[in-house]
Amino acid sequence: MRRIAVSEADFDAAAEIAALEALGGGAVASFTGIVRGDDGLETFRLDHYPAMTEMQVGRLMDDALARWPLLGVVVLHRVGVMRPGDRIVFVGTASSHRGAALESCAFLIDWLKTSAPFWKKESFADGSARWVEACAADDAALARWT
């Protein structure tokens, strides 16, 4: 099971986890990212490079499948306009080994959160808006995997 979706639509994390559980591996890890409402954030827009995202996530999944004994891997990402409390990203993995499930899940989300071709624009209650700057802490998280 290998599934990628990048879409403006919300997703059902519970259904994805149930599908991963049904693969018989014994270990399912997941990560869900939700839009935070820090500093009076009202809406949030994710600009992205669709063809590159799907190609790069596909290649990353191949890396994960080569590196860990996985039975299933799912990456879902929303784009477009979101609000605090909305789910934005889901990564789920299934394996016979809990370490493989947990590590591959962390690997995929670290890449998505740091290197996926996404750009965030935040709009606040006071009417201001700004493009989010890249974060050095994220590069450190990614360095773990190389």
Partner: protein, 86 residues
């Protein structure tokens, strides 16, 4: 005559006011930075978007590249700020 598709994202897109455009291919030996300089020379929104190349990142045919890399046989060049992830 071969062409190069350009794609713009985030504030680069906003400054220029276009999602992308097609230009004449400057040749395989031209670097990404050469294209940036060529676009900056247009002035206006282009001048603003491309004034500080160190603030830009690029992908050639959907793979991240450095600004010093040559275009080679690349057909799609995307120019954007550092990615902020999902």
């Amino acid at each position: 005559m071969s062409t190069l598709s350009l794609l713009y994202f985030a504030w680069v897109r906003e400054a220029i006011g276009l999602d992308g455009e097609t230009i004449e291919h400057p040749g395989p030996d031209a670097s990404v930075a050469d294209v940036v300089a060529l676009l900056a020379a247009r002035g206006g929104g282009y001048g603003q978007a491309f004034a500080e190349p160190e603030r830009l990142r690029a992908a050639l045919d959907q793979r991240f590249v450095r600004l010093s890399d040559p275009l080679g046989s690349g057909r799609e060049l995307a120019l954007f700020p550092p990615v902020t992830g999902g």
